[in-house]
Symmetry: C2
Subunit: 277 residues, 2 copies
């Protein structure tokens, strides 16, 4: 089920710049009990990403009404919103009047094992490096070939995520997640200045950590820092927080900080759902 | 006019991975007198790009017959071939059986002034830097947001091309062209190891230069090297060679080497058209 500019449709014009150049951005939103979770944050990031890519933001009232009407009867689902620069222009040159296309599509919630949240997941390091591209870093844009190549590196169903480094060997994120680690009760994550997606869930976790007085450091770090951590965890808008129990041959315990943040997040999500009901 | 997997169609599924992630690649081919110019080279690059992106190459007999049947009545046109990883998979993860989609579309030949080839064009430096991404460099893939952002920097119709540097200040290419410069009768161009598209026309010019005994150096270079050059020129499969007559406030003469290469290229192109007629 998908809406293209408000009309039910499963197709898009070949000339759409999203198809021709990856010229657009997206949001992936969890729907629980008919409510799109953290919707205002997703709308805000979508607006900021549009600004950075110089695409006019689609009317937020329209996005709001289409989202809530698609979500209302769904218990557990995923909503993906794509905004592209529309059609037209000549080659890379954008048209003088940009008419963005907005595409909202509903997808089944993935059937992840409940053990992932409880006993943690297994991760590996990817060979594919993230490029350094400050003009695009942080944005959830449609240029995702590096993630596709990284995710194609393994097919072992016992490995749930691949961890990506940038060209300088800084650890940035998972293929579909952001990454945190904990050492001596201090929480660390990458600044994402040159690569990576600044996830909504990453932002929420950072806010929760600060609000509860935990030490949070945003800095570049490398393999050694991660592998000698006390705890490590992955996050995104769909999975929430998954503790990491091993990366290659290194095993991690699931520590108190990860459990506290899982608890705080679950509490915060419940409030969000109630506020939007 | 477009063919999607052989059928006339102007639409593509929303679920195509080209639209979702820019998960694919393309070729832009000049059609002259019913002949797709340098078609075998384009097919070869398409095949190599598919290998690098782990997309099965579409059958070259099919590509061949579809291309020649679309081209046969066209005097001057552009053929764009897009190959995507098709639909399916979960998120970035590719499906176990990849069924690529091939899209051939015909576009009018741009109405560039003949003076561009004769008296040269005006270029500017772009602010947008090309990211460093060795896993994708050289490939004409569908992740083209940097080029779109760079091309959006100017609207002055008297400027024909923008020159892009990478993060390290190395000059890489134009937004839609490759770039060469000439100093003391020696020809220089960028190696494209970390960014850029290895253009078909760039390859032909390099071969012609070597075959005629000219000195060709492929190396990193910066703004100073370009601005103190004797000659500079741009190339791609559609424009051939455009001399550069100025970059920002620096003016260039149109020197003998550029003229020789234009002549050699035109001769070589005529042979290619006759061989394929």
């Amino acid at each position: 089920m998908a809406l293209v500019n408000g009309s039910i449709q499963e197709l898009i014009e070949l000339s759409d710049r999203g198809f021709q150049y990856g010229d657009g951005l997206f949001e992936t939103i969890a729907i629980k009990k008919g409510i799109p979770c953290f919707f205002e944050r997703h709308l805000e990031r979508l607006h900021n990403s549009c600004l950075k890519l110089q695409i006019p933001t689609p009317c937020s009232k329209l996005l709001n009404s289409e989202t809530f009407s698609l979500a209302k009867d769904l218990d557990n689902a995923i909503l993906k919103i794509i905004v592209t620069r529309g059609t037209g222009g000549r080659g890379y040159r954008q048209p003088e009047a940009i008419k963005p296309n907005r595409i909202l599509s509903i997808h089944p919630f993935p059937s992840y094992a409940t053990s992932y949240k409880e006993q943690g997941v297994t991760a590996r390091f990817c060979e594919t490096r993230l490029g350094l591209s400050p003009s695009l870093s942080g944005i959830k844009h449609l240029n995702r070939l590096e993630q596709v190549l990284a995710r194609a590196e393994w097919s072992d169903i016992n490995i749930q995520e691949g961890i990506m480094q940038d060209l300088n060997g800084h650890i940035i994120e998972g293929t579909m997640t952001n990454l945190f680690y904990v050492k001596n009760n201090m929480i660390f994550t990458s600044p994402l200045l040159y690569s990576g997606v600044a996830g909504i869930m990453r932002g929420i976790i950072m806010e929760l950590a600060i609000a509860h007085g935990y030490s949070l450091t945003v800095r570049d770090y490398k393999e050694y820092d991660l592998l000698t951590a006390d705890e490590a965890f992955l996050c995104n808008s769909i999975i929430g927080i998954w503790p990491i129990n091993s990366i290659n041959t290194t095993r991690f315990g699931i520590g108190m900080m990860t459990r506290k943040l899982q608890y705080l997040l679950s509490e915060y999500e419940q409030k969000d759902i109630i506020n939007n009901s």
